[in-house]
């Protein structure tokens, strides 16, 4: 069965490859998984992975690579999987991506590598995300952390603020250049949004821990419970603690509310709070964990929003026992920013999608608890600044939806903790940090920024791309000294 690794390891003739269907990933049965927090996707076997990898057309100009924000050498790693060299495949991914087990799970591949896959024009694109996940998981099961080589020290110190995807990426790249890297995290657990934002059923905490252990083995230092801007300032890090450069990757991090009446009612959550309780604090395991959660069993629950966060929240609510689980989104399904696979999974699990619908008021039961939302129907008008068609309320279409719990997942604002405590750090009018799109340099010498705190809410992989660019230009700055 095992193909021999020769010059051209793929036994399937090019012409036949498009005829092989995309290999489905094994997943937990929807009826079962709607009641547990275990991972939905179960991964490829070696055989499935090789069969899927053999579909690759080996394009001369692979657009799967140019569409990847961190330029993972997709063609090369897929070829290594075809050859059965799974550790080699993982190492190849790691040349460009220090968090392969994570991106293999949460990247919106349809917008990047798989969106660029030539096969996708005719049939289903190559399952690049699934293959990446396979290689990363294989590596995790077989690697020996003690074998990781550490780069020769340059003597330069870099502080990374935030242990989310941009910070971890920057840290991983910089430590490989030999710089002393220390990551400061405000929370008690490492991983940033990967830990507090993304639920176990999509990204198990163990995976994040393993990726971080790998970075520790590479020499990255971590310090939790440090809120930069409060516990220590950027200036203090540079002037008193001797850091030669700082990368700010704190994420957007402040929840947006809708500004409609009744948002203070008990039972109305921001997605950040709801997901933090579940993911970071394990409230779904109460009373084994101390953090409490409301009783969701049999109750009608809605999330407001159409992104991955919204789906993470409503699928968590379902797993807590919600009787009804609605997605209320003011545009139509075509405009939903969520990953295609998440929408599919959510529908399989029985989530009800109410498109072109938005709440205008949360109504109380008279005792301070949410009991319904007054909603309005929308229609799509002209495109707005985002290029998506603008939702316009339909007059007279208001209706009441009985609800016990509502989760608001309409996006985030910039958390101002660092901006307000760092003199000389320029921000834009929405209070995000100004950073050069190529070099991630801020207005302050030696300080770089990237990820959601620069762009506003985006994706894990875009944040990682920014971390990567920052690491490159931090290394240049540390080597040349020129700003």
């Amino acid at each position: 069965m095992s193909p021999t690794a020769t010059k051209s390891p793929n036994p399937v003739p090019i012409k036949e490859r498009m005829k092989v269907p995309r290999q489905a990933m094994r997943e937990q049965d929807p009826l079962l998984r709607a009641h547990n927090f275990k991972e939905v996707n179960l991964g490829y076997s070696e055989e499935l992975a090789r069969r899927e990898a053999q579909r690759c057309l080996e394009c001369a100009k692979p657009t799967c690579i140019t569409t990847c924000p961190v330029s993972v050498k997709v063609k090369d790693f897929v070829e290594l999987i075809v050859a059965g060299d799974y550790m080699g495949a993982a190492a190849k991914i790691r040349e460009d991506n220090v968090l392969p087990a994570i991106t293999g799970r949460v990247c919106p591949q349809e917008d990047h590598c798989e969106g660029g896959c030539l096969m996708g024009k005719k049939v289903q694109p190559l399952g690049i995300g699934y293959l990446e996940r396979f290689a990363a998981d294989y590596e995790q099961r077989h690697m020996d952390l003690s074998q990781i080589r550490r780069a020769e020290r340059t003597g330069k110190k870099v502080a990374i603020v935030g242990s989310g995807p941009s910070g971890l990426t920057a840290a991983g790249d910089l430590v490989q250049k030999g710089h002393q890297v220390r990551v400061f995290e405000a929370l008690h657990e490492l991983g940033g949004v990967l830990v507090y934002g993304i639920p176990e059923f999509r990204l198990p905490k163990q995976i994040i821990r393993e990726q971080i252990d790998y970075m520790r083995a590479m020499g990255v230092e971590f310090e939790t419970n440090v809120v930069v801007g409060k516990t220590v300032t950027i200036d203090e890090l540079m002037l008193e603690e001797g850091y030669d450069a700082v990368f700010i990757g704190t994420g957007a991090g402040a929840p947006q509310f809708m500004g409609i009446p009744g948002e203070h009612l008990n039972g109305v959550y921001s997605a950040n709070e709801f997901l933090t309780r579940i993911n970071l604090m394990h409230a779904y395991e109460f009373p084994a964990y101390d953090e409490p959660m409301l009783d969701f069993r049999g109750k009608p629950v809605a999330v407001i929003g159409g992104g991955n966060t919204a789906l993470d929240a409503i699928r968590s609510a379902l797993r807590l026992g919600a009787g009804k689980a609605y997605v209320l989104y003011r545009r139509s399904e075509a405009e939903m920013p969520a990953r295609i696979e998440e929408v599919k999974h959510a529908k399989q699990e029985g989530i009800e999608f109410h498109m072109l619908t938005a709440p205008v008021e949360f109504l109380s039961d008279g005792k301070g608890w949410l009991n319904a939302a007054r909603c309005i129907r929308m229609q799509l008008g002209e495109p707005d600044a985002s290029g998506r068609r603008r939702p316009v309320p339909i007059e007279g279409s208001e209706f009441e939806l009985p609800l016990s719990i509502a989760v608001i997942a309409i996006g985030t604002n910039a958390n101002p903790l660092i901006q307000t405590t760092t003199p000389g750090l320029a921000t834009n009018k929405r209070n995000y940090i100004e950073a050069d799109v190529e070099t991630q340099r801020t207005s302050k010498k030696g300080v770089f920024a990237g990820g959601d705190i620069v762009t506003g809410s985006a994706t894990v992989i875009l944040a990682m791309g920014a971390g990567r660019r920052a690491a490159k230009s931090i290394h240049e700055y540390l080597t040349t000294g020129s700003w």
């Binding site: 405000a186 929370l187 008690h188 507090y196 939790t224 419970n225 440090v226 809120v227 409060k230 516990t231 220590v232 991090g253 402040a254 929840p255 509310f257 948002e263 203070h264 008990n266 959550y269 921001s270 950040n272 709070e273 933090t276 309780r277 970071l280 604090m281 394990h282 109460f286 009373p287 084994a288 964990y289 101390d290 953090e291 409490p292 959660m293 409301l294 009783d295 005792k367 301070g368 958390n415 101002p416 903790l417």
Partner: protein
Amino acid sequence: MFKILHAEFIAPGIKRFVIEAPRIARKQKPGQFVILRIYEEGERIPITIEKSDPERGTINIVVQSVGKTTHLLNALETSDHIRDVVGPLGKPSEIEKVGTAVVMGGGVGTAMAYPTAAALKRAGNRVISIIGARSKDLVILEREMREVSDELLVTTDDGTYADKGFVTDKLRQLIDSDTRIDLVLAVGPIPMMRAVADMTRKENIRTIVSLNPIMIDGTGMCGGCRVLIDGKSQFACVDGPEFDASRIDFAVLVQRNAMYRAAEQKSMEDFERERDSLLAKVHSEEEAECALQGGGK
């Protein structure tokens, strides 16, 4: 892990901890708080910092046993460890010279009022402090408050010590006796702060209270601690914890603080049953962590 250098009960159910936390000690200002988590399965709770010693690298907190987490915390002793302590969080108290300031502490709130009273005194204000508790043995920090106050008034609800009555009765007397009051700072149970707000609103006296709603991250990320100020949401963790009392919707504060009452009661019942095994769990986590860091207790 954060080492408890000293722990002692200062009243029944009220314990003071001196915790090794050099980063926090260096930055702490009056009015700020920490969030702590005792062990891996623990929740995060906010606790106001009583004072800090930047040279020694320590902070003091005063904790009253109320729910599971505070009961467990108060079961810890000198040289035990707390898994996570983060801070200093929140905006510091605004300390300026206003003339006469009345600082009010109700129950364990006295420990939170104390650093601000001291700072107001240092800023050149005349400080009249009013502290009170349910009964004699729960009056705390009387000596400390006396040291930083020009005048100290003490009440107990049951009259077992000093004057019988509430701290608000003393405030009423000050107002009725035409004492000039430029600022009131009140920290204590919500009903007390609300009563103070009602009283001083009518008199047009600027009044600051320190709120303690349910919090998780404490950095403005989750919005769980939102309070209605002039009808608009603000976050107690980053916009507070101190707010102008006349603008606070206390009814919403009370309602939101009751959100998890059922779960809190269950936790407390579990705690009473499992106290010893929980403490053992905390200690074994401690040992594992200390071993990992290559240091002893």
